[in-house]
Symmetry: C2
Subunit: 355 residues, 2 copies
């Protein structure tokens, strides 16, 4: 029997509510499909920071390293500045474990209403491949001068290795999907050094994949096209910042961020990959038991897929879709229902069991 050890980090806010829902569904599907998941809990969060001054212990990364995957809820909470909480937990995990791919589906699910006219299930269905380890997210820089004369420097660092590998991942992924079309997000008209380089590498790597069509748009007009013609995209590749923006905008266009999943992948499998919903810790609804668990559960499906349990992954996604398609389903308030996290999770479990 295949056995996988998973590091659970519920984190903050609704992360603590949706992560257990994910664990429940994954455990159920594992049992049905005949593999074992061993979950270990790591209670690292903004609370930990307030108590200890650290988001995770000094040996945190080492303790995570010997797991097959990391299953994360959400990080960040009022009282701890975002740049402290994120650079103290989420971002170091992405970097130290070389999870250089952030993969996010943009898909209009059944039963969910897009804010766009005339779009229904299946009309919007593409992937954002985001660089996840370098680029604009950098701690290089600082502040100098005082008072009125203060200046702040923020440096972005793009390596050829880092750029080439994410571009290759995007092309390989498009080929694997059978949708041979990759769109690059750029801004080479304004960002003088980084983006002309990005374009150059996109052209060079693209040339290695003659069967795959390419196009590129500046991020400003690309964002507008996500709204005006989302059906045109197959695989969209972007830098850390551009990918971040597009992979929230995409779920916005498909009606809700609450159900969107993401995978932080180390394709070499030398280190564990991490799976987390796109939504954050949502302090405004935390503690009420009404958070939508679908983003977490779908992230769990991506984790199973990564672990090699593709059939189980497909079953979880099918169960989510079956609930959303069911006119009798009781959904969470963000989807217009009055159900709780527990109630929605239970229905997914039922569909999974074929009920």
């Amino acid at each position: 029997m295949n056995r996988y050890t998973i590091a659970n980090i519920p984190g903050d806010g609704i992360g603590r509510e949706v992560l257990p829902a994910g664990v429940q569904v994954l455990s159920a599907v594992a049992q049905r499909c005949g593999f074992a998941l061993e979950f270990r809990d790591f209670d690292w969060s903004c609370e930990t920071y307030l108590a200890t001054g650290k988001m995770m212990p000094d040996d945190g990364l080492t303790r995570l390293a010997d797991h097959d995957a990391i299953f994360l809820g959400a990080v960040g909470y009022p009282g701890v500045p975002d740049h402290v909480s994120l650079w103290g937990l989420l971002l170091p995990i992405r970097r130290e474990f070389d999870q250089y791919v952030n993969l996010r589906p943009v898909r209009l699910l059944p039963g969910i209403r897009s804010p766009l006219r005339d779009k229904s299930t299946g009309d919007i269905d593409f992937w954002v491949v985001r660089e996840n380890s370098e680029g604009e997210y950098s701690q290089i820089g600082g502040r100098t001068g005082t008072g009125e004369d203060e200046i702040v420097i923020q440096q972005a660092v793009f390596t050829r290795r880092g750029t080439d590998r994410i571009l290759r991942y995007a092309f390989d992924f498009a080929r694997k999907l059978g949708r041979p079309h990759v769109t690059s997000a750029t801004k080479s008209n304004g960002l003088y050094h980084s983006m002309p380089f990005w374009d150059e590498r996109f052209a060079a790597i693209g040339a290695e994949y003659p069967g795959i069509a390419t196009d590129q748009y500046h991020i400003d007009i690309l964002a507008a096209r996500f709204v005006m013609s989302p059906e045109r995209f197959d695989v969209v590749v972007g830098s850390n910042l551009f990918g971040d923006i597009l992979s929230d905008l995409g779920p916005g266009v498909t009606g809700t961020i609450a159900v969107a999943p993401s995978a932080n992948l180390n394709p070499s499998r030398r280190y564990p990959s991490m799976f987390e919903p796109v939504h954050g810790s949502a302090p405004d609804i935390a503690g009420q038991g009404i958070a939508n668990p679908i983003g977490q559960i779908w992230s769990g499906a991506m984790m199973l897929d990564h672990l090699g349990e593709a059939e189980a992954a497909a079953m979880v996604l099918a169960a989510i879709e079956a609930v959303l398609r069911d006119p009798q389903a009781v959904l969470t308030p963000d989807l217009g229902g009055n159900g709780s996290t527990a109630v929605l999770t239970r229905q997914i479990l039922e569909k999974l069991q074929g009920r």
Copy 2:
């Protein structure tokens, strides 16, 4: 009689087609309202670059400096890399003339169909105030290392002076509009130095305006909210890059980029301000005489407003809206019609003359 000298830079592609339309309409309204506009043409473009190696002559900025305003079409054309054409003309004008405000309305006009469901004229109506002189758009940085080891650095520079003045502009503008609510675009969870500083200054400047409500969103979720709830915004302020993205996304949400105007303002009036449509040179339709002139004409209205001719500005905008509201109007192909640039311009001129 008030007299203004305007430097026309048609630039490239459809810029050369819509700029004359703008000039026609502005000349007509000037005559009706009793002021004089003297237009002088500056034929600087990518063609100039291909012929001379420069986008504009060495004394270009000096030659523009003694005009009351600059009226620009579009810059950029295939064959000249964007970062060459833009950093050779548009961006130096913005910087050298200290046009530190880029002001762009996001407004759903009559007769234009938003891609969003349930949104009609008046439902979407807000402003993006973009920092236009520093930040992420910087020529500082470069490439080092060779082959596989190449590294590219792109530096963003935020000054306290530059940040404070754009924030103050946004607050003053919200007050002047009578819509006391300013939203800040940030990304302080990922961009370690620049955006925490931006947030700090937003809080500090906001405190100077106790009557104005504030909120802030990370750029990723803010982009999603532009789609999910655009009716919530009044004035949105962002850095150079974030403002750029939002001010294309906004027009995307209102149905078309083709009609969106922009003003590059030097509020001190020490240097000329510049007015240009948001759309680019559109090589795909250039030369066919079918480009939509509304973005250029509306930019002209913003120019009149800046020059102190508010009544004339309002008349131009009213004429645009009257055409769009008229079910008999013949629009350009981008708006679903089969009219030419000239035909649409003629109808705006007719409405202006009360016909």
